[in-house]
Structures are given as structure tokens and as C-alpha cells.
């Protein structure tokens, strides 16, 4: 019915549903970036949790056999357990590198990348873990988003020091996303994203679609940060282990057909 399609937003819409979640999310992401900045410039602060939540750090260290950091392994395990329920929510709400990518790619549409490229991050993950086992050191930390961000901030804070080494990966990540697609780093490269997506399951947090309200306008498909919505291909709006729970689909939907859900 024409009236519904035009003014679907203001009719029968509660206050909560009319708020764009993107602003709340960006506020939370900004706090995380400010926290990392604070931690880098005030090094005596015991803000270590930011780096401890990365399971790659402790797992690869343990695999090398040289050191077994039990407290860090516990933290990492907790993080993986959390992703059973929350999937890649860390990527969408906490990760400072994700925030930077979100800020530089407001709805832009860039070059398309082949979908099979999504395997790359799993290849990197497995390679990194194997290097730990066989060679005793880890390269995953070159790409761990918290380290990438803190290195870049450290290079600005102490500019006389190894600017190239500190900034290189950060620049690669950001330019990759700026030049191709939203969150290209997160989609194709990030090993932390790879390992967090593995425990993610359909029973955890995700989105739900009200099929009666959906008008096939495809705005959600364009808005999706991770490019995992495929209306045109008749696959419909399905939950995906790559979903970072950014809720851009919900914010974009003109008929309020999409909402967050926890299917327990």
C-alpha cells in the first residue's frame, strides 16, 4: 500500500526503533580508540586488558613452546567463548582499526573483490599458528588490530622513532579499505576476525528479518559493512559467521523490517 511504503518510518514506530544504532556504535568505538590513545601516551597505566583479549597472542605464544602464559590463555579462551554468543561483535563495536575503517568509508562503493578472497584470512591464521609451532616466533602480531593501532599511535607519539615500521600495517589496512570496499581488511585479511568467526554460530547474536515488512529495496545489501547480504541472488537476508553486528542493515531499512536478535 503506497502510504505504508512512503511513511513507513513515522507510523507506529517506537522511539527506540527510530534511533539509528550507528551513532551509539560509533560512540562506543570512539571510546575504545580514546582508551588505546590514553594507554599509549600514559604507559605506566596498567591498561593491559586491551591487548590481552586477543586470543592469537596467547595461543601462538603457547604453540611456540617457549612460554606458556596461563593468564593470557584464560583471557583468550574467554574471548573465544564470548564469540560463541556474540560472533564478531568485537569487530563491529570495539576494534579501533574497524572504527578507523568505518570513518573513512561512509557508504562508499569501491572495487569489487572476489568472494573467495575471504579464505585469505583463514590462510593467514593457519600460517601464523604453524610458524609459531615450527619456527618459534609469531607474525600474527604484525596484523593484530590492537597492536597495529598502538604501534601507529606510538609512532606519532615518539615520531623520531621508526615511523615506517610503526605505521606500515596501519596504512595498508586503511588504504585497502579506502580503495576497495568497506572494511576490506576485516573481510579478507584480519586473522583475529578469522579466529573470532570460527566459534560464531547461528544460535548466538545476529539479526532477524520480518519478511512481511521487507520490500526488497536492497538498501540493507548496500549498507552491509561486511558485504554478506545477498537479496538479489535470492539468498535473502541470512545470518553469517562474518556478521560484525554493526546493525547498518537495520539502520538502512526503511520499513523497520530488520532488528537485532539473540536466538539462544
Amino acid at each position: 500500500m503506497p502510504n505504508d511504503q512512503q511513511s513507513g518510518r513515522s507510523e507506529g514506530r517506537s522511539f527506540l526503533s527510530s534511533i539509528k544504532l550507528r551513532y551509539i556504535r560509533h560512540i562506543v568505538q570512539a571510546q575504545m580508540l580514546i582508551l588505546v590513545l590514553y594507554a599509549v601516551t600514559n604507559p605506566s597505566l596498567p591498561i593491559r586488558l586491551l591487548w590481552h583479549v586477543d586470543p592469537l597472542l596467547s595461543i601462538s605464544a603457547a604453540l611456540s613452546g617457549a612460554v606458556t602464559p596461563i593468564p593470557l590463555l584464560i583471557m583468550g579462551a574467554a574471548m573465544l567463548a564470548a564469540s560463541l554468543a556474540l560472533g564478531r561483535a568485537f569487530c563491529g563495536w570495539i576494534c579501533p582499526l574497524g572504527f578507523v575503517q568505518d570513518m573513512i568509508s561512509f557508504g562508499r562503493r569501491g572495487a569489487r573483490m572476489p568472494e573467495s578472497l575471504r579464505c585469505l584470512k583463514y590462510v593467514i591464521l593457519v600460517a601464523g599458528l604453524l610458524v609459531s609451532v615450527l619456527a618459534g616466533w609469531t607474525f600474527l602480531e604484525w596484523m593484530a588490530p590492537m597492536s597495529v593501532t598502538s604501534r601507529a599511535l606510538s609512532s606519532i607519539w615518539k615520531p623520531e622513532n621508526s615511523f615506517a615500521v610503526g605505521f606500515a600495517v596501519f596504512l595498508v589496512a586503511v588504504s585497502f579499505s579506502a580503495a576497495t570496499q568497506k572494511r576490506a581488511w576485516c573481510r579478507y585479511v584480519c586473522p583475529l576476525g578469522a579466529i573470532l568467526s570460527l566459534p560464531a554460530s547461528a544460535k548466538g547474536a545476529g539479526i532477524s528479518v520480518n519478511q512481511e515488512r521487507c520490500i526488497r529495496c536492497l538498501r540493507c545489501e548496500r549498507a552491509c559493512s561486511m558485504g554478506i547480504i545477498d537479496i538479489k541472488g535470492q539468498a535473502g537476508l541470512r545470518w553469517d559467521s562474518e556478521c560484525i553486528l554493526c546493525m547498518e542493515c537495520r539502520d538502512a531499512c526503511p520499513t523497520d523490517a530488520i532488528g537485532p536478535a539473540f536466538r539462544g
Binding site: R9, Y23, I24, I27, A30, Q31, I34, L37, Y38, N42
Partner: protein, 339 residues
């Protein structure tokens, strides 16, 4: 200006002499030594910008003889302010880094701030300016602190001490704290370079801290300390160095003599900077006894430091405000479009 002030100076041994003050607190010693030269007004005029240059190079606490005592430096700053200086700066290019920490450990920063003055740490190349040294034989040009070039009066306030490389270190050697590249001095011939520097930097007055003298293990120490309780002051920087070194030499510390040591003093004298002939210097040296007297109490130090989390808390608040504002603006726009 200085010559006129010398002509009008109060009676006493006079500005041409070298005055050694003994028997008093550091503050009393400085006052007595300067009074012997004609009073601080002889050197500092109303409205002058005064640069006070202590030895502040080493990150060791005060009382170990490696740096000028904070009490001596503080007294010189106070007297300069009382003479009507418009600005007094305590400055040095320290050896130990970071400089800010060094001057905190050795107490020289506090010495400036308790008198309401500022300690200027000289560290960037932009703090210095290249100056050509006319008549120099080793160093043709040197980068000298702009703070000196822009000041009206330089009061050099070194500490008398042993120095492993040259023998001893007093005022002439202490001027190295006003240059950028001390490595060049070591490379091109230390004694010649120190002498050449004195052609480019001319203190109006030198006040030597000889209260507690490091007679071995210098310039940093640790070493043997001698409680000498004296302050030496004068206009001729070479003569002041000679008179100060004589104090230690006469106690048997041969490194304070000229036999194969401290060549820079004689070289400087040869360049015409001052009088290094020991008998001539001692002939115009006077000892004075510091009198009792209480100076004005130092002003309370005012320091307000923001807590370290302050800028980040404000960033956080700003980001929340910005996000909420954007959200409200967006809602308004959406509702407006649907009317």
C-alpha cells in the same frame, strides 16, 4: 652601560678584583661576594633580561659536587630580581638526558621556580644559533644558545670541581653548557675549543660555587668532597678560574694546577680573554667574611598540573556529545522529511 656602572660602584675591593667570600650560608656568601665587587646593581640594571648559567648537567642529587648547588643558583636569581631585572632565566644544555628529569633530580629547576623564575632547558638545535668566533684557533664557529644572545646580562654560576679530561672545571669549562654540539669540542681539541668559546661568550659576572668541592672523580663523581664553604666572584672569567683552582691546589690537589693540566686557561689568556698569571691574579684577590643577614622569604611556588587523564576525559565527553548531536540531527532530518 657596564663601564658606567663600574664607575659609579660602591666602595669595596671593586669590580676589577676577584672576591672570595667565606663563613656564611650559601645565600650570605653570594651576597657578600657580590657586595665586594660593588653590589649586584653594578651588573644588573633595571629592566635587564638576565641569563644565569649554572652547572646542571648531571642527574645526581644536590650536595654531591657535580652540579652547582641549588642554594647558590637560587641566591643569584633572587639578587638579580631584587636589582630590578625584568626577566631572569636559569638555563643549561645538560649532558644527562632527558634534561627535564636531570634538572629535577639535581634541584636546579626547583632553584629557579622557588624564586618565581624559569628554568630553560636548552636541547633542540633551534635553541641555538651559529656564531663565528673571531680570533679563534681551533673552533671557527659554534652554535651558541639564543637565550644568551638575546639576554642583556649573563651571570655564569659554575661549580668548582675535578674533571678527568682537563684536570678541573670551573667557569670557562662551564660555558660549554651554552653550546649545542659538545662532541665537536672533544673532537677538535678540548682545551683549544674551550678557550675559543670564551671569545664568543662573555659573562658579565662569574660566581663560582666552592662550597662543597669534588676534588676527585669529576665531573660527575662520586669522589672525594671537601667542605670549603666559599664563593668566588669576579668579572675576569680567566682570573676567577685561576683563583678558584688555587683554592683546591693549595690543599694539595694537583689536578687543579697547570702542570700538564687545565691548558685551556692559559690558551684563553693567550687569546686576550683574561689574566691567567697566578701571582697577578692573587694580587687582586680579596677574601671577605659574609655577615649575618636574612634575605626575603622566597615566594610560594605555584604549580597547577592537569591530571594526565584530563585531555582524554574531555576527548571522551566531546565524542559522546558529537555522536548524540549527530543522532539527534539525523532524527530531526528523518522526521522533517516525512511531514
Amino acid at each position: 652601560m657596564l663601564k658606567e656602572r663600574i664607575a659609579n660602584a660602591k666602595p669595596g675591593p671593586g669590580p676589577e678584583s676577584v672576591v672570595i667570600a667565606r663563613n656564611g650560608t650559601p645565600s650570605e656568601l653570594v651576597s657578600a661576594a657580590l657586595d665586594g665587587l660593588g653590589g649586584i646593581d653594578t651588573f644588573v640594571g633595571r629592566g635587564d633580561v638576565v641569563l644565569v648559567k649554572p652547572n646542571a648537567s648531571f642527574s645526581v642529587p644536590s650536595g654531591t659536587g657535580a652540579n652547582t648547588s641549588p642554594e647558590i643558583a637560587s641566591a643569584v636569581v633572587r639578587l638579580s630580581l631584587e636589582a630590578g631585572a625584568s626577566k631572569v632565566i636559569l638555563a643549561d644544555h645538560t649532558i644527562n638526558k632527558p634534561s627535564a628529569l636531570t634538572v629535577q633530580i639535581n634541584g636546579l629547576r626547583a632553584a629557579a621556580e622557588e624564586q618565581g623564575a624559569q628554568f630553560l632547558v636548552l636541547q633542540q638545535e633551534s635553541d641555538f644559533q651559529t656564531v663565528e668566533l673571531e680570533g679563534a684557533q681551533t673552533l671557527r664557529e659554534v652554535e651558541i644558545a639564543k637565550a644568551y644572545l638575546e639576554s642583556d646580562v649573563l651571570i655564569n654560576v659554575p661549580v668548582l670541581k675535578h674533571h678527568e679530561a682537563t684536570g678541573s672545571s670551573v667557569g670557562l669549562k662551564g660555558l660549554m653548557g651554552l653550546v649545542y654540539d659538545r662532541a665537536a669540542f672533544h673532537r677538535q681539541g678540548l682545551d683549544g675549543a674551550i678557550a675559543d668559546l670564551s671569545l664568543g661568550i662573555r659573562p658579565s659576572l662569574t660566581v663560582v660555587d666552592a662550597t662543597r668541592v669534588l676534588v676527585s672523580g669529576g665531573p660527575r663523581g662520586p669522589g672525594e668532597l671537601v667542605e670549603m664553604g666559599k664563593v668566588v666572584a669576579g668579572v675576569d672569567p680567566v682570573a676567577v678560574d685561576v683563583a678558584s683552582m688555587a683554592l683546591a691546589y693549595s690543599l694539595g690537589y694537583e689536578d687543579f694546577g697547570f702542570d700538564g693540566r687545565n691548558a685551556y686557561v692559559q690558551i684563553a689568556s693567550g687569546l686576550g680573554v683574561g689574566d691567567a698569571e697566578p701571582s697577578s691574579v692573587l694580587a687582586k684577590t680579596f677574601e671577605v667574611d659574609a655577615k649575618e643577614g636574612t634575605g626575603p622569604s622566597p615566594p610560594p611556588s605555584m604549580s597547577s598540573a592537569l591530571p594526565p587523564w584530563a585531555p582524554y576525559a574531555s576527548l571522551s565527553v566531546a565524542s559522546v556529545a558529537l555522536g548524540l548531536a549527530a543522532m539527534i540531527w539525523d532524527r530531526r532530518k528523518a522526521h522533517g522529511g516525512n511531514e
